[in-house]
C-alpha cells in the first residue's frame, strides 16, 4: 500500500485536487487513500457485499477523477465523492429488495459494553440488533441512506445533504421519517 501512512502529513483536499486536475495522479491517489475507508463503508452499507462495495468504490473514485474539473473548488470534497460512490453502489446493489441479511455483517457482533452485561442481556441485544438491522433494510432507500450517513458514517447534516442530493431540511425530515418507520416496523417496546 503505497499511500498508507503518509496521508495525515499531506496537503489539504483543495491543494491535492488542484494538483490532480493538473494531471498529478499521485495527488489523486493520496485523496483516494484519505477517503477510501468511508467510501468503501458507504458502498458496503448499501450493497451489503464486500465485492460490490469494492467495485463501487473503485468505479466511484474513477468517475470522480473524470469529473474533477466540474468540482467546485472550496466545496467539501468528501460528500461530493461519497455521493458518486453511493450512486455507484446503488446501481450495483443486486439485493435491494431482498430481506435483510445485514446480520451478521451489520450488527450481530459483540456489543460495546459486553463485559458489563449479563449473558442474557447480550443475547437480547444481539437479537435486538438483528431485528433492527432487518427493519433498517426494509426502509425506503432515501430514508436508509439518511440513517447511514448520519448514524453509521457520522456525517454532518450539511454533508449528508450533499450525499443525498437534497437540502439539509429534507435530510432532517427523511431521517425523522426513517426513525419513525424503523420504530413502527421494529415494534419498539420501551423499557418499562
Amino acid at each position: 500500500m503505497v499511500y498508507e501512512g503518509a496521508v495525515e502529513q499531506l496537503p489539504d483536499d483543495g491543494v491535492l485536487i488542484e494538483q490532480a486536475r493538473e494531471g498529478d495522479i499521485t495527488a489523486y491517489g493520496h485523496l483516494v487513500a484519505r477517503y477510501q475507508d468511508t467510501a468503501f463503508r458507504i458502498a458496503y452499507l448499501i450493497t451489503r457485499s464486500p465485492t460490490d462495495a469494492e467495485d463501487a468504490a473503485q468505479a466511484g473514485f474513477l468517475k470522480a477523477y473524470a469529473a474533477l474539473h466540474r468540482f467546485h473548488v472550496g466545496a467539501p470534497f468528501r460528500p461530493w465523492l461519497l455521493r458518486i460512490v453511493a450512486n455507484e453502489a446503488r446501481n450495483r446493489s443486486r439485493h435491494e429488495r431482498r430481506q435483510a441479511r445485514l446480520i451478521p455483517r451489520i450488527g450481530g457482533s459483540e456489543p460495546r459494553h459486553r463485559t458489563e452485561r449479563s449473558a442474557e442481556e447480550v443475547v437480547l441485544t444481539d437479537e435486538t440488533h438483528r431485528l433492527l438491522a432487518g427493519a433498517l433494510w426494509r426502509l425506503r432507500y432515501e430514508e436508509r441512506l439518511a440513517i447511514f450517513t448520519r448514524y453509521f458514517l457520522d456525517l454532518s447534516e450539511a454533508e449528508a445533504a450533499v450525499v443525498l442530493g437534497c437540502p439539509a431540511g429534507t435530510v432532517k425530515s427523511r431521517l425523522s421519517r426513517g426513525l419513525e418507520h424503523l420504530r413502527a416496523d421494529f415494534q419498539w417496546e420501551p423499557d418499562a
Partner: protein, 133 residues
C-alpha cells in the same frame, strides 16, 4: 424516539466492516490505462474517418457532393462584353422623392446644401428623415 436512537447507536457501534481494500492503488493504476484506452479509441476513430474520407474522395460524384456540402463547390469564371442585368431586389423605403425646396418646406428643420448635386432626395415625413443619395 430516544429508545430507537440508542439501539441504533448500539447497532452502529457493533457493526464490523470488512477490511477496506486498497482502492487507491487500483485507481492510480487504472487512470493511465483509461487515458491510454481513450487515446487509442480517439486515434482509431480519427483513422477510420480519414480512411472513409479518402475513399469518398476517390469517387468523383461523392467528392463533388462533399465539396458542395462544405461550400467549396466548383466556381466558373467567364469573361463577357456586357454585364447581365441586375434585377431590382427590394425598395429601400426612403420615403417619397422630392426637390430640396420641397423637402425644406415639408420638414421643420434646415437642410444644408450639399457641395454637389445629389442624385436623388427622399422625404420620409412620419419618421422625420431626409435622405440624399
Amino acid at each position: 424516539m430516544p429508545e430507537i436512537d440508542r439501539t441504533l447507536r448500539e447497532l452502529v457501534a457493533a457493526t464490523r466492516y470488512p477490511p477496506t481494500p486498497d482502492v487507491a492503488a487500483y485507481v492510480v493504476a487504472a487512470i493511465p490505462q483509461r487515458r491510454q484506452r481513450r487515446l487509442v479509441v480517439v486515434a482509431l476513430a480519427a483513422m477510420a474517418m480519414l480512411i472513409a474520407l479518402a475513399i469518398a474522395f476517390a469517387v468523383p460524384p461523392a467528392r463533388s457532393a462533399i465539396l458542395d456540402w462544405l461550400g467549396f463547390g466548383p466556381i466558373r469564371i467567364e469573361h463577357v462584353s456586357t454585364l447581365p442585368p441586375v434585377p431590382d431586389s427590394a425598395t429601400l423605403a426612403l420615403g417619397r422623392a422630392a426637390t430640396l425646396a420641397e423637402a425644406r418646406r415639408a420638414m421643420g428643420f434646415p437642410i444644408l446644401r450639399l457641395p454637389r448635386e445629389a442624385d436623388g432626395l427622399f422625404v420620409d415625413k412620419p419618421d422625420g428623415e431626409v435622405t440624399l443619395v
